[in-house]
């Protein structure tokens, strides 16, 4: 019965959207003049057992992840779906993804000031501190909301958004229901006198509530509706930009905070000054008890309602990504500063093409936590602790100083020189109990030589020095490209400084790729070291593997 009703409602929605549309185009009808576009990707790996690096014997021999999006648009009407297949999920992806199906489908109607989407959608309020649904294929993350999403612009400069639905949970849906509303005003558009003003001001506010039924097994008096609020502003005046967002969440006892009754808080502030050739940026943040999920018992990367960005540089060179920092949602306090300066072209120091220097520093600590009376900090079912908002905690989670100099020497040569010094609390970030803080120095040299206008050779040489964890590493990549279609590369990462002589391992890899337009096929063979793949501060553990990997992707 319930199901039938749902069907009817959905059909009604589709039909009414279609009807709206056919009214617009009158005689044309809905099916003419539309277009279909989409994309496709398949990642597959043939695994070889390798006891030296602890690469497991995969009983399927081969594993594959794939998807295809199809989107149909016709004027104001859009509908789409994504087919996904995991047979079986590749190593490092959650096994609950196993299988195939259509976890994402939607239909939407859009006019100039009104937009409605039914089905799955992605949405973000402000910087995402209270609501962000997104997908990250490389991490196996998709927390799309299935329900209704409305966007409305009642006046010029005013946007109101609403969301209502359940979140995707592998091939199922969250038990919790998410409701949210967000408003944003571009103040300069509201008052005619301000339109020409150089200072541009944006204000916004959001409110989100998650409903989940009681769980008698926890024997706690649980809040069934957990609300969160956020306010934000952005001020821009030419060279100067300032942005701030503050969020507060009511007490939300859940697995990841050991079921304490304490409000959560997050503050994100950043300011920048920039002009041609110079950019300066400073940002700071504080997060306290801000895990926000649509299921209070979820402990993995799934069902996140909000997004807490880490304020550290996202490194790109392989050894610099060896110790990636991830946000500690239960409490952290940190800041970051960055300066980018381009020494002008044709100057003595800058050389003929100019030289760009970028310096970045960030530090993240724990937050201050004090006992309430004599109850141990964070004890199950209590108010948890109190915290001084402006006080840094004593424990260092991460420190990262890095500098990068890049210069085009002449028409044939380019070089990048980089250095990173970091301190990484591996015990807290990766949960390796009892392991000491890792202090590492990383040196990188990246040289490109062009033989002809379209043929180039790139050499990347990296060295990491540390006395902790697995000791010293070196890495080298040699990459040959023929633009715009071909690339070939060979690489090695060598853990020569490992304290255990049987673990001084080489990770060789050979790869090639061919691109035509938007279609790309890439093949690689070799060893992949165990490590963390992180995007936006969310990480996935990639186990060690050896074998042949194939990636095909295309968009049309």
């Amino acid at each position: 019965m319930k199901n039938n009703k749902k069907k009817l409602i959905l059909l009604f929605c589709i039909l009414s959207v279609s009807y709206f549309f056919s009214l617009e185009t009158k005689a044309q009808g809905i099916l003419s003049g539309g277009s279909i576009h989409g994309n496709f990707q398949m990642d597959a790996q043939l695994y070889v057992e390798d006891s030296v690096i602890n690469a497991p014997d995969v009983s399927e021999d081969m594993l594959m992840n794939g998807f295809s999006n199809l989107i149909y648009t016709n004027g104001k009407f859009t509908a789409g779906l994504r087919y996904e297949v995991y047979l079986n999920p590749m190593l490092g992806y959650d096994y609950r993804l196993k299988g195939s199906g259509i976890p994402y489908r939607f239909a939407s109607f859009k006019s100039d000031d009104f937009e409605i989407t039914v089905g799955n959608f992605y949405e973000q309020f402000g910087s995402g501190l209270v609501l962000r649904s997104y997908e990250e294929w490389n991490l196996g993350i998709d927390n799309s909301i299935d329900g209704i999403n409305i966007k409305f612009k009642p006046y010029k400069g005013v946007t109101i958004k609403g969301v209502y639905g359940n979140q995707r949970y592998y091939w199922e849906k969250s038990k919790g229901i998410i409701r949210g509303i967000d408003g944003e005003v571009f103040v300069n558009d509201l008052f005619t006198g301000l339109a020409e003003m150089k200072t541009k001001i944006t204000l916004g506010g959001s409110m989100v509530s998650v409903f989940q039924e009681n769980d008698p097994s926890l024997m706690l008096n649980l809040p069934l509706n957990v609300a969160a609020f956020a306010g934000r502003m952005n001020i821009n005046r030419g060279k100067v930009n300032f942005m701030a967002e503050y969020a507060n969440k009511i007490n939300d006892p859940e697995s990841l905070n050991n079921f304490i009754y304490k409000n959560g808080e997050a503050l994100l502030v950043s300011g920048s000054y920039s002009q041609k050739g110079l950019g300066i940026m400073f940002s700071a943040k504080r997060i306290d008890n801000m895990v926000y999920k649509s299921d209070r018992k979820e402990i993995g990367n799934s069902l996140d309602v909000n997004f807490l960005p880490p304020l550290t540089k996202q490194h790109v060179y392989s050894l610099a990504t060896m110790y990636p920092y991830a946000t500690q949602p239960n409490g952290e306090m940190g800041y970051q500063a960055q300066v980018i300066y381009t020494i002008p072209k044709k100057s003595k120091l800058g050389g003929r093409y100019g030289t760009t220097i970028s310096v970045n520093y960030s530090q993240v600590n724990s937050i201050d936590k004090q006992k309430i009376d004599t109850i141990p900090i964070g004890e199950y079912g209590t108010k948890g602790y109190t915290s001084d908002f402006f006080k840094f905690g004593d424990i260092v989670y991460n420190k990262d100083f890095n500098i990068e100099i890049s210069r085009k020497l002449n028409k044939k040569w380019k070089a990048i020189l980089a250095y990173t010094n970091l301190a990484y609390n591996i015990e807290v970030v990766e949960g390796h109990a009892g392991e000491p803080m890792v202090y590492a120095d990383i040196f990188i040299l990246d040289i490109t030589h062009k033989f002809t206008p379209t043929k180039a050779l790139r050499l990347e040489y990296q060295q990491l020095f540390t006395k902790q964890d697995e000791g010293d590493w070196l890495a080298a990549i040699l990459e040959f490209t023929i633009a715009p279609k071909w690339f070939l590369s060979i690489s090695d990462q060598y853990n020569y400084g490992n304290p255990h002589s049987d673990k001084k391992i080489h990770y060789y890899m050979a790869a090639m790729g061919y691109t035509k337009g938007t279609s790309r096929i890439a093949l690689s063979y070799g060893r992949q070291r165990e490590g963390l793949v992180c995007v936006g501060g969310v990480c996935r553990v990639v186990p060690a593997s050896n074998g042949l990997t194939l990636t095909i992707s295309s968009s049309f």
Partner: protein, 177 residues
Amino acid sequence: MKKVFLLALMITFAAAGFSQETGKKLTKLPAIDVKNLNGEVFNTSEISNDGKPVIISFWALWCKPCIRELTTIADVYDDWIDETGVKLYAVSIDDARSSAKVLPTVNGKSWDYEVLLDQNSDFKRAMNVNMIPHTFIINGNGEIVWQHTSFAEGGELEMFEILKKVAKGEDVSNDSH
């Protein structure tokens, strides 16, 4: 519920596929809200250049080949403008982690592009971008005429050739589309 939806979609797709056979139609840009560097909402249907070609390049601060591509184009951008009148929109898909760094980085590198922030990848999804860098060329009528993914040294040369044709109003549908 799934079935009803699928059925509706399949009918739509089939019919649309059929109606497309009458002639090759170029796709226009979708209308998606992103932000400009003032913090103002910018709708992607407003991307235009007075009838001259437009380049749309998806990038992010963490994407080395993207930075290489945009730096390479920056060196020849003035020549490209002189010859074709092109305007480049660099669409950053950086999320809240580093979107505040986009403005100072663009200025610090002295790039003269129009920069847009697509923090939750809405525009990226609507354009079916899988991997970045992914670059589109739009003709004077606002239609997508060419696209390419990945970047290797010298890749800008092919792009410039296409751009010159598009500026003259020539058909580029056979140029490794």
